[in-house]
Each structure stands twice: as C-alpha cells, then as structure tokens.
Subunit: 395 residues, 2 copies
C-alpha cells in the first residue's frame, strides 16, 4: 500500500465511525442505552449488515456476533480494505448459514469502529471524538445493543445466534439475558469468562497502544495522528495467540526470507517475522486504536458465572435454547477445557446441548477458516434446529 | 522507586557496561573474538563472578550459563537492584551447586549489559556506545567468549556446565563445540533450536522496543534517554510466556485490585495487570533495551542441528560428556517435546544421558524457583558425576 492509499484507507476508516457505509439505526435521547457500569449512552447508534430475506412469520433470523477485531461485513467485500467478508466460508447461498433459507444479521459491536457507537464516534456533548470519555462497555452491553437492533427489525425470537471467540461470549450472554428470544445458540471457540492469562495478553496489547506517544492520552483523532506503531505491536502479539505452535511450525518453521542462511540483522530475517509485521501493518489500516482498548476490556470483564452468584449453571436455568458448543484441539487461547465448563453448566441447568471438539492444528483462528468438520457440524446443527422450528425455505 | 532512585539505578546500570562491579577480563587487539557472522570483535571484555575455591588440579569448576535477562550475579546481591542472586536456591554452601565443593563461575553473556561487551559498551572506533553497530552475536559466540574466559582462568576441563532456557542452549553448544572440556552437562528447560512461535514472540518484543521513539534508532544512550515504555511492553509480553495458565490462575485468577467488582476503567483493575506492569517497570531499571534485541536475536538464530547438516545427533557424535536433561510439564515456551528431541539425539549419538520431566504448574520459570524435585535431581546428578570424576571436597 502506498502512502496515498494508506491515507485514503484511513480516511475511509475514520468516516465509517459516524457515517458508515452499512445501514444504521440511530437511537436518540428518548432511547438511551443503560450500561452495566451504570453509565447511560444517548444518543447512540448501531451499524449492521443483513443477507437473505426475513420470512413472513419472522422466524428465520440468525444473528452473527463478531469477534474482537471483526465487524458486520460477514459476507460482503469490506468497505475499507476491499477484502472478502470474514465468514464467507460459512455464510452464503447453500452454505451452512444459508442465505437462501435464513435472514442473516450482523451488527458492529458497541465500542467498535465500523459505525456502531465507539470511542472514535462523535461525543454529542463536545462535538469531538469520544476517545476514552466513552464509558467502558461490556459483552452484556454489546448484547443489549444488539437486542435493541433486533427490536427495531421487528424480530421477536432469533432462530439462532452464532459466533466465535468474543462472538461466542456474546452468544452465551444472549442465551442468558434473553433466553426466550434465542431458539438455537452456537458458541464457537469461546469461554464463559476470560482467563487470567487472556487478561494478561489483553493488558500487554493495551499497554503497547498507550505507550505510543501518538496515542496522546486517547485524543489522537483530534490531533490528526494515530498510534500505528503501538497498535501494530499489540496486533502482532495477539496474532500469535490466535494460531498454534504446530501451525506456525508447518507454515513457517525456521525458514529465512530470500536466503538459506541467517542474515545477522534485526530486519525481518525469518519468514514468520515478515508475516507478523504484515499482520500488524494491515491491521492498523482498518482498526481504531481506542476501539482496541474497549473491545479487549469488554472481554476481560466477561464472567458470566460471576453475574450469577458464581454458579455458571444459573446463567442458563430453565433455558429452552438448543446449544451446540464447538472447540478446537489446538486452540490455547480458548482451550477445550473452557468449552467443557460451558457444557457442564448447561447440563447442570438441564439445557439441550451438543458438544463437538474439532481436531485441527489451526489454533483459535480455526473458527474463521475453511475447516470441513466445522462446516459440517454447523450445517447439521442448524438443519436439525430448523426442522424442529418448522422452518421452510424463505419465500 | 522514586524518580531519584530510578535515575540512580539507571546510572549504575549504565556504568556496569564499561566499568562493571564484577571482575573483568579484557581482551585486546591481539586477542580478537571471531563471530559466527564473520565479524571480528576486538577489543572486547568479559565480566564474571565466581563462588567457592578452585581445587589444586583445577577439576572442580562448574560454569553456569545465564538466561536471556539474567546475568553473572548468581549468588550475590545484585549491584544495581540490591536483590538476591537469581539462583541462590541452587548455588551456595550445602546447596546442589555446593560452593564448599565446587568452584562456580558465571559470566555475563556477550551482547549483555552487565560488563561483558554488548551494545551499551563503548565502540572503540567511535568512543560512543556500540548501539546497533555491534555485530549480531549468536549462542555459539557467547560460548566461545566463555571458553576464552575459562582459558584465562587456567581451567582445561569444566566439571560441569549448567543453565536453564537460553542458558540451556549455551550448555548444549558447549557440549557440541568443546566436548572434551565438559565432563557433565545440565541443560534445563531448553531446546536445540528456537521454535517459530518463540521467534514470533521475540520479534514482538523487539518491535515493541523499536516502536518507542525514545529508542532513536538504537542511539538512545548518546541522547541521554531510554525506550523504557517499549522495553516494559516487551517484558510484559515475554513474562506471560514464562509462566503457565495454571500458575496465573492460581496466583491471580480474575481477582480485582482493592475491590470486589469491576472498576470499568483502563488502569490496572485486575491483580494480574498490576503484577505485569510491575514486572515491566522493574525490568527497565536494570536492563538495556539494545541488549534485549541482541540476546533475543541470539536465541532466534540458535539451531544446533542446522549447524550439523540438519542432524542433531551429529552435534554430539563421540561425546564423552554425561548429560542430564530436565524439562517441566507446564513449560509451554520450551516444552518437554523439545527436551525429548535433545534426548533422542543424544541417544542416537550413543551419549550418556538421563532425562527428567518434572511435574509442576510453574511454567518455564520453574528453573529459577525453589522446586524440590529440581533441587534433588541436580544434586543427585552432580553427586554421581563428582564420584565418577573422583572429586573430593575443595581444600
């Protein structure tokens, strides 16, 4: 990307904050969003994408919840990067989340940077970007915001809620906060609480952003700058946790760039270094640094059991939702043990649950990739749920 | 630490580069050190500490090789921080590395910042600190430098060479480069090559340092500044990899600082965040940022098999050294599988080797901690080796 292209991409990303290219629902002073922290947000807005057609009885809607640095552009090319949607393997005509049968919705999360209110949105009180004056948001708040969008779309009950990683946390929160509105739930590579190690990784990323002098106490947008270097370091560190040792080994091993022997320098001498640097650089073109702080913080604060007297099963008591919990063998960020805790709690709550641990060396990122067993599992679960729900092909 | 104390600690750390409080051997133009890269270093110097007494036939010397951010202050209080030596659990009268029996040597590694030539040392050609003009050094170079020190001390054969992590890499290199000079070798929590994932973690740390504008292309010392924030971020990230999920969970869990509920802010709200920040801040008081680049790079380039046609066993062919390889169950940075590769190669080379995998939840850092099974294993191995070597109590 040339400097000009970068500047253009940034302008686009910046514009997406207040004037997104996605449809937006604006909630005014009469429709505030009360946050878990006690703060109240008004006005606020929610940007989203939809695919497929809502059927006559409004029973075929699937809400996809996106992960940390994802957004609503699930199955269309991204307005900033021009890249394909992040879940095109899963969403589309004839795919498991079949747009010929289902009405698919995905909203940018609260705190994000693609049109839903976040720290780069304009603070109505000052006319300037919110920055760190935006109240801290939680997974619970993200879900409440989505529920307001679903109300707006006139949908009472979602046929399914699905998502991986932070998206999976939202799925669990949906099933807990609005059990009667979720027919089926698919938390993938998720956890019911963020572990100490994951909080630690999150903190390193935030410190990397805040250590960059261009962060300017969170007021970089007013200054016309961005903490690009700090955010790139944060992304590089996080990216390692999304993969697995086996995946890195088979993908890069100890291979050098453009040579067969060490270069004895501090440039990217190994292929894995070059790959990581690229991950960092391409990320900062599309993502807002303050949003990174907010969404990682939301994950840190997620602890569904803590909200229910320390007993996770209580979060799902009496639930009629059908759950399909999916984990990946090589995922060390959200390991299978975390999914087992969810399954155990669902069993204790006498909920309907199936559990699939998928064998793969692709690590946490497997939920985003073309993993045949994942596709088959999601398709099978949704087909059975659709039958149980009496769903027909969308007219 | 107050600002004044910090400045004082920094001055001390800076002074240690050229005028260390440890004994130093200075090698002049007539005694250059030829590096693996082809570069030649002259003059150069090596700072070290010793404990105990060398016996009459000079057969009771044990060389300890320190880890990435360690130094020669194994069993005395640190001249900069005032803290106890980093291996006082293992080294001292009556301890496994018994200073009543053995003559213990530990040298600051080449590229380090506690008196051995490193990037903060004065470049004789310019009279200024080397910075990134110092040639890149390797584990092989570190070991060659130590061999020159051992020559200087008049020791032909070391009774043992021992070390954990990067120290363990040096142990393996010693046994390969100088098999006739090593009677017994103790590589702990080590590997014969740095994995792709570990190179990736190293690169994130280096990028964090280099992203700090105070790094100034490596010339911060001339400018009277230091890339403290970048180095602290690097240390925080690395520190997570030294522990284990289980250790972080039992030590901190999701406990908050000074309260029982979330504070909804970006300060250190969780105990694990406060702990990590402390690790970052205390590290920058004693360690040089450029040294961090050099020593992490040395680990990246370590690949003992590659130096022997891709066959690790060839690195140890005909070895008479007795090996004791030790790993820890919860170490995910240098997992047991890496130690097994070493053991396999030693077996293929028909070398004498015992292997102990120690059950602990303390992660990679277990080699530095008071782990009873580690102490017992090292004591047993050294006692048996001493008997085989015909060693008596030092006179």
């Amino acid at each position: 990307m040339t400097k000009h292209e970068k500047a253009k991409a940034f302008d686009l990303a910046r514009r997406e904050a207040d004037e997104p290219s996605s449809p937006v629902v604006r909630f005014g002073a009469e429709a505030p969003l009360k946050l878990v922290s006690g703060a109240v947000l008004a006005p606020w807005q929610c940007a989203y994408q939809t695919y497929g057609t809502l059927n006559a009885d409004r029973s075929n809607a699937i809400l996809i919840c996106h992960a940390l640095t994802g957004d609503q552009h699930v199955a269309n090319s991204h307005p900033v990067t021009g890249k394909p949607g992040w879940w095109q393997t899963m969403v589309g005509p004839g795919r498991p989340l079949d747009t010929d049968r289902f009405f698919i919705i995905c909203a940018n999360v609260l705190g994000g940077c693609m049109g839903t209110t976040g720290p780069s949105s304009t603070n109505p009180a000052t006319g300037k970007p919110w920055g760190l004056d935006l109240p801290v948001v939680t997974i619970h708040d993200m879900v409440d915001a989505q529920a307001r969008l679903i109300d707006h779309l006139g949908i009472d009950t979602l046929f399914a809620v699905a998502g991986g990683s932070m998206g999976g946390m939202q799925v669990l929160q949906w099933a807990s906060s609005y059990p009667e509105r979720v027919f089926a739930a698919l938390p993938i590579a998720a956890a019911a609480r963020h572990s100490a190690q994951n909080i630690a990784f999150g903190e390193v990323g935030r410190q990397a952003v805040m250590a960059d002098p261009e962060w300017r106490g969170g007021h970089y947008l007013e200054a016309g700058t961005r903490p690009e270097k700090g955010l790139a370091v944060a992304r590089m560190g996080a990216h390692i946790t999304y993969l697995s040792e086996a995946a890195l080994h088979s993908k890069f091993g100890r291979r050098f760039q453009n040579r067969s022997a060490p270069g004895f320098h501090f440039d990217a001498d190994f292929q894995v270094e070059s790959y990581l640097r690229h991950q960092g650089l391409s990320f900062v073109e599309r993502f807002d640094a303050n949003s990174y702080l907010y969404v990682t913080r939301a994950m840190d604060y997620f602890d569904l059991a803590a909200d229910h007297g320390g007993v996770l099963a209580r979060a799902f008591r009496g639930s009629k939702t059908r759950f399909c919990v999916i984990s990946f063998t090589s995922d060390w960020l959200f390991p299978t043990s975390e999914s087992r805790q969810i399954v155990k709690a669902l069993n204790a709550a006498a909920a309907s649950v199936s559990f699939v641990e998928i064998e793969t060396d692709k690590g946490h990122d497997a939920f985003l990739l073309d993993v045949p067993e994942l596709t088959t599992t999601v398709r099978g679960f949704l087909d059975a749920a659709a039958k149980a729900r009496g769903l027909k092909v969308a007219s």
